[in-house]
Symmetry: C2
Subunit: 429 residues, 2 copies
């Protein structure tokens, strides 16, 4: 008997096939029983009758949710069935009976679900989010690969920190101290001088004691870096990339977006050009909303929520004060107190999904900045080398995958945008 996946079932109408999966839902109407089976690629209704499948009919009452099974039957098109097809069941073989499956259709608390994340992933909603997440990651790579970028992975174990030493996970590396990378950027800078246009894409780590809906301690980041590029190039690549991601998800995952109840029109509105405002203009908008912050401070979650709710599309905020940002950012030639940097905020209150900048390419200035920021020099010697041997202007940015997925899926907390979230009090399962 031919084993087929539910996603391919439409190619087998009228044929007898075998579906392997798990009981997702059970109901009966009079003398017809329905066993709804999910196999990870879709769900299908298996129609069980006394006449066609007497053994399965007799066993129906003993079936339980998430019992694994192999069902054979003939595929029939039926518009009323979920997915548009159903299986006229011939036989139903139980592979393993599931007892007391803990996740039921009733509401569960988030702590309960997070503790059972390994099972929670089986729900239709989580399935949709994970499929969209995979598409977002694929779209990122496709966009850059098609434009000549080379994927060059940055290391995770590093001798130094990129954005300060207080928020690092540390490990003993055969007697030396090593830290889990917060960003692949510094390594990207070396790589872009070797290959022109590069990106890294991997997990990054922040040991921040943050308990907001936007923070994970372990999250994935896409980081492109381009030699001889400037802030304008960053605007263009970042905008093109985000439009492309949204377009790809709309094109290939409408079913999942609908399943998540996403307002599709909001996503369809995402197209070039995005608005660009300066940090100073952002302060004015915040002030108009009655929210005043000191010039020189970086924006936090509250400011991002206000600013990103002011636009229908993502918005670039550029030229933040140097002192609010990381040590490596190139100052604005027209005002040394400003950095040639930009953040992109996703709309609907989602906030920052991208941060990027021109990088300092002058050795002396970079040395001064390391001192000003109180960073140790030794672990950065190799990074300084990049300014000794054929230094060039260059720029890049990082896109946070989970924040982007949360925005596109319309989910409020990033913890559902990654298969196994790591949060301040969660490293299990």
């Amino acid at each position: 008997m031919k084993w087929v996946y539910v996603e391919d079932i439409g190619k087998h109408v009228g044929e007898e096939v075998c579906i392997k999966g798990w009981v997702y839902h059970l109901r009966s109407i009079g003398k017809v029983c329905f066993v709804v089976v999910r196999d990870g690629t879709g769900i299908i209704q298996c129609v069980v009758t006394q006449a066609d499948s007497p053994e399965a009919f007799a066993a129906f009452d003993s079936l339980t949710l998430e019992t694994s099974c192999e069902v054979t039957g003939v595929v029939r098109e039926d518009r009323r069935a979920p997915g548009g097809y159903e299986l006229l069941t011939g036989s139903l073989k139980i592979v393993h009976r599931s007892e007391d499956y803990p996740i039921t259709p009733k509401e569960h608390g988030i702590a309960f679900l997070m503790e059972r994340r390994h099972l929670w992933l089986r729900s239709s909603r989580q399935n949709s989010i994970l499929r969209i997440r995979a598409e977002v990651m694929r779209a990122c790579r496709d966009y850059l690969d098609e434009r000549g970028f080379v994927e060059v992975d940055a290391p995770i174990l590093t001798p130094a920190s990129v954005e300060g030493t207080t928020t690092l996970f540390e490990t003993d590396y055969f007697g030396e101290r090593a830290f889990l990378s917060q960003s692949g950027q510094l390594y990207n800078e070396a790589a872009c001088m070797a290959l022109g246009k590069v990106y890294c894409f991997g997990p990054t780590f922040r040991a921040e004691k943050c308990k907001t809906r936007r923070h994970l301690t372990e999250f994935w980041m896409l980081e492109p870096e381009i030699a001889f590029a400037n802030l304008e190039d960053i605007f263009q690549v970042a905008e093109g990339l985000v439009c492309y991601i949204v377009e790809r998800v709309l094109e290939r995952h409408m079913r999942e977006l609908e399943n998540l109840g996403r307002d599709i029109a909001r996503l369809e509105a995402i197209e070039s050009p995005f608005v660009r405002i300066t940090y100073d203009e952002a302060l004015e908008i915040l002030a108009q909303e009655g929210h005043r912050i000191e010039w020189g401070e970086d924006f936090g979650g509250d400011e991002e929520t206000i600013l990103s709710s002011a636009y229908e599309k993502p918005v670039f905020i550029h030229r933040y004060p140097v002192k609010a940002k990381a040590f490596y950012m190139q100052p604005d030639p027209e005002n040394q107190e400003l950095a040639m940097c930009t953040d992109m905020l996703a709309p609907e209150g989602y906030g920052e999904i991208i941060g990027g900048s021109e990088r300092i390419h002058d050795l002396g200035l970079l040395e001064r900045r390391l001192e000003e920021f109180g960073l140790p020099r030794e672990p950065f010697e190799w990074y300084l080398d990049l300014r000794r041997y054929g230094s060039v202007p260059h720029a890049g940015f990082g896109l946070g995958i989970e924040r982007t997925v949360a925005w596109i899926c319309g989910i409020r907390h990033v913890r559902e945008a990654i298969p196994f979230p790591r949060l301040i009090y969660r490293v299990y399962p």
Copy 2:
């Protein structure tokens, strides 16, 4: 002036363009000077003459290797030039003068080069390896994506170890102990029961004090996992994947393979089917080569070298003794002392690039194995859950990216197959 990359130079014959890059080589013949410039995407010879570019001609003697520059000129096709094109230079603007670039065409020791990995990447050889590495990774994803697999990332920070606790990097996770993942497999098993066919692809970590040419402490691994699959499925997916990877590299990176001096015929010979031998048969082959090992022991580097030199193509070795392998492997129904597992060894002495198996799906057996292997139960409770709620037979494997890249590129040590290698005494740069 239009900035173009060297890889696109063929589209601009007869046009005046600007190349941005680094001085790679300098030579002069009488009154013609040649500045060979690399921009990461290729190298091009810029012809400098007194007549066409008097300023550049005058500055020629002061040029140094790795000086960054912008060269404008007219593109001309010339078969004798490296890459097939050259630039009739109009102007050459120095962006930043490089002094005493440490890596010269003369031979350097490996320690010297590893300490300067951030610069060493600029060499033509390392450029070729990194481009092939990116292609291998892309081919892995394409192969699985086209077959309905969903990328589901496994976490790096984990509460438990997959293959024993002695070889783990540990970190303090807000007061708890957490370990850097050695494999995403256990999480993949949860994910495949949610999505059917999945893979994870990320960095993995082994704190092994190994100083062989096959070991890194941080390496990338592709790990597919399939619900309702068995060892035969693993043979097929693994074989198809490896053929596809080699084919893609041959198709798109012949220039890089030639640059590395790879024996192309060896790669062209890689096609289905691969030989499959049992562990017992492998012991016989080893004995014939005068190399005896005790039944029950796993193979090490020496055994792999002998076995993988015996074939022109990758070879599967299957059904190793249970006690030689990890706790989670399903025993052979025909002989409980054997595991339903396989390793794939790459030819030419390269050794293991893939390890895979059926996974135990019976709760009782898995509980006994955890005990026999002396593993703590608590961090595996979630993993046991997968055998409580609709357990299914399933199987998967892991492919080591650096070993695969080393084999395809024909390089002897995996340290050159990753941008920033982490070895027992190396976590810098």
